[in-house]
């Protein structure tokens, strides 16, 4: 696993994914650019105040007074990616959790960024959706202006700049993969904005289980079928060994000029308990 930079940073971000989010005590009043969703403006404009961290202070005060924070929908997750001989394969499980409850048994964690770039997201579901949507829009406008296919490094830089600007408050840990003119690329992006470039990567609460599979079985020059099989194994390892991951396996295979989005490629957890006759309960039970 690429352990560039401070090891403790990595620990920090994994905590964020697995457990409760610590209240951020920093008060950053920064003049940062935000996009104005109205007519007229072409480029980013500096808004007064930027992202307001005032609520963070209030939240911390409330926590100290004993208020339990509202839980949000997280994707305690297993997401993986690997580079094979013709391109990139991304895989994800499909369980979304809200604390100990499974909120969505079949959610989509592989997000579209560009026709040749897809991104798996772990962390707070709303954050991953919003950030991938925003950057996907950005890339589309960029494609119109330049009349060229989007590059993976462009998506990478846009995502990491966005996440860094929000100082880790946007809780999105991403595995970004795609094939462009310079070849196949696979990157991981942590919520604070640091990135790694790897031949195989895993993120989310099930990342250790999945990484164990990759570390023992990955080799260069995998064929498409071998690659898909390996990714399925890794995700299944996460599904069966991690509580935060479960349900089905989604796969996305990206090669030069083509992509295959295999939604629910594997269903290792089918419902088997529905009685076709229905249930009858006698009165007063």
């Amino acid at each position: 696993m690429g352990m560039k930079g401070n090891g403790s940073n990595h620990e920090c971000s994994r905590e964020r994914v697995k457990g409760e989010e610590e209240a951020a005590a920093e008060l950053l009043l920064c003049r940062e650019p935000i996009r104005i969703m109205s007519k007229g403006e072409v480029d980013y404009v500096h808004a007064r105040g930027g992202f307001s961290f005032d609520s963070c202070r209030r939240n911390e005060m409330l926590l100290n007074k004993g208020l339990k924070p509202s839980s949000f929908l997280k994707t305690g997750t297993t997401i993986v990616g690997l580079i094979f001989q013709d391109g990139v394969i991304l895989g994800a499980d499909t369980r979304a959790t809200e604390g100990p409850i499974v909120a969505d048994k079949n959610c989509e964690k592989i997000h579209y960024m560009a026709p040749n770039i897809y991104c798996c997201g772990a962390g707070t579901a709303a954050d991953t959706e919003a950030v991938t949507d925003t950057i996907s829009s950005h890339l589309k406008l960029h494609r119109y202006h330049t009349a060229r296919e989007s590059r993976v490094v462009t998506a990478l830089t846009l995502l990491k700049s966005h996440l860094f600007r929000y100082q880790g408050h946007v809780s999105a840990a991403l595995v970004l993969g795609g094939v462009d003119v310079t070849g196949p690329h696979l990157h991981t992006i942590y919520p604070h904005g640091s990135t790694d470039s790897l031949p195989f990567a895993t993120m989310g609460s099930g990342s250790l289980a999945a990484m164990a599979v990759f570390e023992s079985k990955y080799h260069e020059g995998l064929s498409r079928d071998e690659g898909v099989k390996l990714v399925c194994e890794a995700i299944c390892s996460g599904i069966f060994n991690d509580l935060g991951s479960g349900s089905n396996v989604d796969i996305c295979v990206i090669t030069k000029g083509q992509k295959e989005y295999l939604r629910n490629h594997l269903l290792p957890n089918p419902r088997t308990y529905i009685s076709s006759k229905g249930y009858s309960f006698s009165k007063k039970t």
Binding site: K39, G40, V42, D133, S137, L141, Y144, H145
Partner: protein, 213 residues
């Protein structure tokens, strides 16, 4: 008339009730390259002549017809740089609409927003109106549509229209040849003929028509 005294400031009406700057902008459009659009039964065609100032200009670098969304395109008459700004803004607006409503922007909406931008520049201080008229062609669930947007910000829906030089000739030609149930191929053919009107003599056009038909 005292109009000339009011012709420099955009934000001042002249006594005759006109904004003279906008009239001047329309003149700028009228001296631009001819562009036209024709709405057919199953599509829209927009066309323009790509007249380059010299044979040394790399023609692949000049793109007069631009795409705004996968189903809406635009051509202009007038100042090229002004049209680039509008194209950029329109693309962004289309994308924002899509992000907000998860629906591809209808042609009328995009035209309305573009026209609103053009109107803004006729009522703000320190700016001048855009020196372009746009022909926006699109196909959405309401079928094929063709709109013309002027520097004043007004927009019209046309069955067939032309802008720029030789407008009267081109429009007369279009009036003669336009039919409601035209197919897209016919429309393309007519568009090319209309453009050639301004370039070739009537005798040459006859020859061409005989050749083709």
């Amino acid at each position: 008339m005292g109009d000339s005294q009011y012709s420099f400031s955009l934000t001042t009406f002249s006594p005759s009730g006109k904004l003279v700057q906008i009239e001047h902008a329309l003149t700028a459009v009228g001296s631009g390259q001819t562009s036209l659009g024709i709405k057919a039964a199953n599509g829209v065609v927009i066309a323009t002549e790509k007249k380059l100032p010299s044979i040394l200009v790399d023609e692949t670098s000049v793109q007069k017809i631009q795409i705004l969304t996968p189903n809406i395109g635009v051509v202009y008459s007038g100042m090229g740089p002004d049209s680039r700004v509008l194209v950029r803004k329109s693309r962004k607006q289309a994308e924002q609409y899509q992000r907000l409503y998860k629906e591809t922007i209808p042609v009328t909406q995009l035209v309305r927003e573009t026209a609103a931008v053009m109107q803004e520049f006729t009522q703000s201080g320190g700016v001048r109106p855009f020196g372009v008229s746009l022909l926006v062609a699109g196909f959405d669930d309401k079928g094929p549509q063709l709109y013309q947007v002027d520097p004043s910000g007004s927009y019209f829906s046309w069955k067939a229209s032309a802008m720029g030089k030789n407008v009267s000739n081109a429009k007369a030609f279009l009036e003669k040849r336009y039919t409601d149930d035209m197919e897209l191929d016919d429309a393309v053919h007519t568009a090319i003929l209309t453009l050639k009107e301004g370039v070739l003599t009537p005798a040459e056009i006859e020859d061409y028509l005989q050749e083709v038909e």
